[in-house]
């Protein structure tokens, strides 16, 4: 219920600003007489998928000995196939552009099918080891299959899972958006940076070719988070290596912030600013031996940054 909007609508109609035909439905919504539960239904479907996949996981864990591996593998496979078959039957024709979902359940059945298929593949690999020493390749296979499903059925959620599965294949966990990288070793760090660059390039190609261009923000955001997380994790290295990584973070962060500012990509701008600030602060504070001077540095630079941000925001407003 929004009394201010309820009061404003008749005034807007009287003033000739709002067409009278539109007023009744707007008034009903503003008075709370008509309530959309679309978002809530989506959230509940999402929770339903979570519960279902969680239940399957528990089933396997609690009944592994009783049911037997083959039954489990076939059972999960059939469930995944049923969900994906429903999706294939309902899917609209393929297009390189955005395709609206045919119904509310479509995205979630696709997600359920992909998750169950992924679980089945992992279970088969762990239990029957068909790939032998190359067991980790099942992650790559799953990333590619998930990517195909994302493109065919136009799902950005599944596309993000495809990217995170690919990163997992390279030993990089995308859970918590790369924050877990901070304790990682050198090999994982380079893998994270490599995956990030690959995702950013992939996004750029998608946008450039106009093929699923609306997937680009997913790839770009995840990619830059991995790149910055990977470089940032290097700052924890001791000695000159740590300083070199912080210098790199400063440069990459500043470059990203500048580019994102010009392109009006605000989330990327925020990543860039925070990364550059972290890199610069590490370089400076590492050389200070007094706690007091560290406080002075953070206080003054934060103030300067606030002024810079306010200036940038004003300039952006003037330009737009």
């Amino acid at each position: 219920m929004n009394p201010d909007v309820v009061k404003a609508i008749p005034e807007l109609v009287r003033g000739g600003v709002l067409p009278p035909t539109k007023a009744p439905v707007l008034l009903r919504v503003a008075r709370g007489e008509l309530l959309s539960v679309h978002g809530e239904l989506r959230a509940l479907l999402y929770a339903g998928v979570l519960l279902l996949t969680g239940g399957v996981g528990l089933l396997v864990k609690e009944n592994l000995d009783r049911i037997g591996p083959l039954t489990i593998a076939v059972g999960i496979g059939l469930a995944a196939a049923a969900a994906l078959a429903w999706v294939i039957a309902k899917a609209p024709p393929f297009s390189w552009g955005p395709v609206p979902s045919p119904n509310l359940a479509f995205d979630y059945m696709l997600l359920l099918g992909v998750l169950l298929a992924g679980a089945d593949l992992a279970y088969i690999e762990v239990t029957f080891t068909p790939l032998g020493a190359h067991w980790a390749w099942h992650l790559l296979i799953m990333a590619l299959l998930t990517g195909l499903a994302a493109f065919r059925f136009d799902s950005r959620v599944v596309f993000s899972l495809s990217l995170s599965t690919f990163a997992a294949w390279r030993g990089v966990s995308v859970a918590f958006f790369g924050a877990t990288l901070l304790n990682e070793e050198s090999a994982v760090r380079w893998n994270a940076i490599g995956c990030g660059v690959l995702f950013v390039v992939c996004g750029w190609v998608l946008a450039r070719t106009g093929r699923k261009a609306h997937f680009e923000p997913v790839a770009a955001n995840l990619g830059w988070l991995l790149v910055l997380g990977g470089i940032g994790s290097g700052m924890l290295a001791s000695g000159n290596a740590g300083l070199a990584w912080s210098g790199a973070l400063l440069l990459v962060g500043a470059g990203l912030a500048a580019g994102a500012f010009r392109a009006r990509r605000f989330p990327l701008f925020a990543y860039g600013v925070l990364a550059a600030y972290a890199g610069l602060s590490y370089l400076v504070v590492d050389g200070l031996d007094l706690e007091m001077m560290g406080c002075f540095w953070f206080s003054i630079t934060s103030l300067l940054l606030i002024l810079g941000l306010l200036f940038a925001q004003r300039r952006m407003r003037i330009l737009s």
């Binding site: 219920m1 929004n2 201010d4 909007v5 005034e11 709002l18 439905v25 919504v29 008075r31 709370g32 008509l34 309530l35 959309s36 679309h38 509940l44 479907l45 339903g48 519960l51 279902l52 996949t53 239940g55 399957v56 996981g57 528990l58 089933l59 396997v60 864990k61 009944n63 359940a105 997600l111 998750l115 992924g118 679980a119 593949l121 992992a122 279970y123 762990v126 980790a136 799953m142 998930t146 994302a150 959620v157 993000s160 899972l161 495809s162 995170s164 599965t165 997992a168 294949w169 030993g171 966990s173 995308v174 958006f177 994982v188 605000f266 989330p267 600013v273 934060s302 306010l310 925001q313």
Partner: protein, 399 residues
């Protein structure tokens, strides 16, 4: 809130609604601009990303500036122990004035900096109050905490009223509940006060005389009060003496046959039903009550599973998921089949909901919840099972 701020707040509500209407395709760009011209915005606002950055850097600047000055002026090691808390008190007062200056005189709203200074002002004032209570007055935690909570409630309530931040109102209500828990009959107060206040809070949350921020503030107070009521009557909370634990007044656990146990069980089942009924009743749908009703209903169902073991956990979880999906799809079909695709004032059509933001949230949640564990570059694969851990579009060596 000053009259200027109130007017800006009301105008912002109409402008926001116009934006929603345009996004839903009910009105065109020209109409939206015409509406915005009738409710002009005189506030200085920034976008969400700049807002977050400005908030973060203001918090860093003020906090580190405070510590720098404390060290530089030697306040931390002053012989007079009151100097450092006194400095915190002065900083808190200055920050409150700075916040007021930004909001009232500089007309900043949703700008990040004023939110940060308001939060820090409350923090520094509370820190000074804590020092005064525990160091100067020599209160122990049991006696000092209620006073500190009440002080926090007063400060947060003033901030919500003056600057129009609903979150502070919710925090104030929470602080009052914590303070009440320390008193004798704390659980009874958690039940009686929300019950007595709910009708008034509901009326205030819908009052056209209040600006939108204050209405939202009262809605949050109502939400916190009713959540407190549910916690107080909840069976698990009764058995675990949760309210008494918060109040550090844990009593002996009552026997299961006690009539209060049965009352608590009945209330755990009834509160969600009553909240949902109140949310649906009348001409206007009361969204906060519906959300609270749904949330408490889920909690009560989980509680039921805790006490009544109908089936193994995997069966309960899988059947719950299947039922939930079935229920949602059935509900959607039922609503769509109604006249004008609505029934009883509910529709499954998006209307003016921001679907782009919803999808962004879904994507973030999917990456967090379903991202597979990365393979270790050194370990061999192993199977561990574990509900929901097998994640992702992917699979994982730990399943």
């Amino acid at each position: 809130m000053t009259p200027d701020c109130e007017r800006a707040d009301r105008n912002d509500a109409v402008r926001g609604a116009a934006g929603d209407w345009q996004r839903a395709g009910v009105i065109d760009e020209a109409t939206r601009q015409a509406i915005e011209a009738t409710v002009p915005d005189d506030r200085v606002r920034v976008g969400p990303v700049f807002r977050v950055l400005l908030f973060i850097f203001t918090v860093i600047a003020v906090s580190t500036g405070f510590w720098f000055l404390s060290m530089f002026l030697g306040l931390l090691h002053s012989e007079n122990g009151a100097v450092f808390p006194g400095f915190a008190l002065v900083t808190g007062v200055v920050l409150a004035l700075v916040t007021d200056f930004q909001i009232v005189h500089r007309r900043r709203s949703e700008g990040g900096t004023e939110a940060a200074t308001s939060l820090l002002a409350i923090g520094y004032l509370l820190a000074a109050a804590a020092w005064w209570l525990f160091e100067r007055m020599d209160f122990d935690l049991r006696h000092g905490l209620p006073v500190l909570c009440l002080a926090a409630a007063v400060l947060a309530a003033i901030a919500a009223w003056r600057w129009g931040y609903p979150l502070y109102a919710g925090a104030a209500a929470g602080a009052v509940l914590i303070a009440l828990a320390q008193w004798p009959f704390g659980r009874l107060l958690w039940i009686a006060l929300p019950l007595a206040a709910a009708p008034f809070l509901l009326r205030l949350s819908e009052s056209s005389r209040l600006p939108p921020s204050h209405r939202t503030s009262w809605t949050l107070v109502l939400g916190v009060a009713l959540a407190g009521l549910y916690v107080a009557v909840h069976l698990g909370s009764w058995e675990e003496q949760l309210v008494e634990e918060i109040g550090q007044a844990r009593m002996l656990q009552p026997p299961r046959s006690d009539s209060l146990w049965w009352l608590s069980m009945a209330a755990t089942a009834l509160v969600p039903v009553i909240l949902l009924a109140l949310g649906i009743r009348g001409r206007g749908r009361r969204y906060p009550l519906l959300i609270l009703g749904a949330g408490t209903a889920v909690t009560s169902l989980i509680t039921l599973r805790w006490y009544v073991h109908l089936a193994p956990l995997w069966v309960v979880v899988t059947v719950s998921g299947t039922l939930l999906v079935g229920l949602v799809l059935g509900l959607r079909r039922w609503l769509d089949a109604g006249p004008s695709r609505e029934r009883g004032g509910f529709t499954a059509e998006p209307l003016f909901q921001d679907l782009a933001r919803l999808r962004l949230l879904e994507m973030g949640a999917a990456v967090l919840a379903f991202s597979p564990e990365s393979r270790s570059l050194h370990e061999e694969p192993k199977f561990e099972g574990g509900g929901g851990q097998f994640g992702g579009g992917g699979s994982n060596s730990e399943f």
